[in-house]
């Protein structure tokens, strides 16, 4: 009986430790998720900037393509 009690105590301590580790792991995963979302937003921003930049390049290209014919 004592042996069984010891066993149950040992399990208790393992479960408790694992539980703590899981809580920590969960926090880490949540942090990574938040960071990932932030990066995805940043990427969307970069994509928008690229589109904007391209849109401002197009008229420059058009203007310049006319030039040699004017001279």
């Amino acid at each position: 009986f004592t042996n069984q009690a010891t066993q149950v105590n040992a399990w208790d301590s393992i479960l408790l430790k694992n539980g703590e580790k899981i809580v920590e792991l969960n926090k880490a995963v949540e942090k990574v998720k938040t960071d990932q979302s932030a990066m995805e937003k940043e990427l969307e921003f970069i994509a928008a900037q690229h589109t904007e930049l391209e849109e401002s390049i197009i008229p420059l290209e058009q203007e310049l393509s006319k030039m040699p014919q004017q001279i």
Binding site: V8, L15, G19, V29, V32, K33, E40, I57, L64, P68
Partner: protein, 78 residues
């Protein structure tokens, strides 16, 4: 009393197993999101180099056009 504790432990273990499975799935999702992000970054790099190239062409063309323009002005003056 031992029996109660044992059944408690059994419950807790089942919870932990379930929670770990959930975390594993979340990590798996995160890996996939990271792969997608990496692909997007590659696309941005490609797009960026294309835009740089186009801007460089504009600069070169404008530079030569400007010189022609200047030469003409001097020509007209004399």
């Amino acid at each position: 009393e031992l029996k109660t504790r044992l059944s408690c432990q059994e419950n807790e273990t089942a919870n932990q197993v379930a929670y770990l499975a959930m975390l594993e799935k979340e990590i798996c999702d995160l890996k996939q999101r990271h792969i997608n992000t990496t692909a997007k970054v590659m696309e941005h790099r490609r797009k960026f180099s294309e835009l740089s190239h186009r801007i460089l062409r504009i600069i070169v063309k404008q530079e030569s056009t400007r010189k022609v323009g200047l030469a003409l002005t001097i020509d007209e003056e004399t």
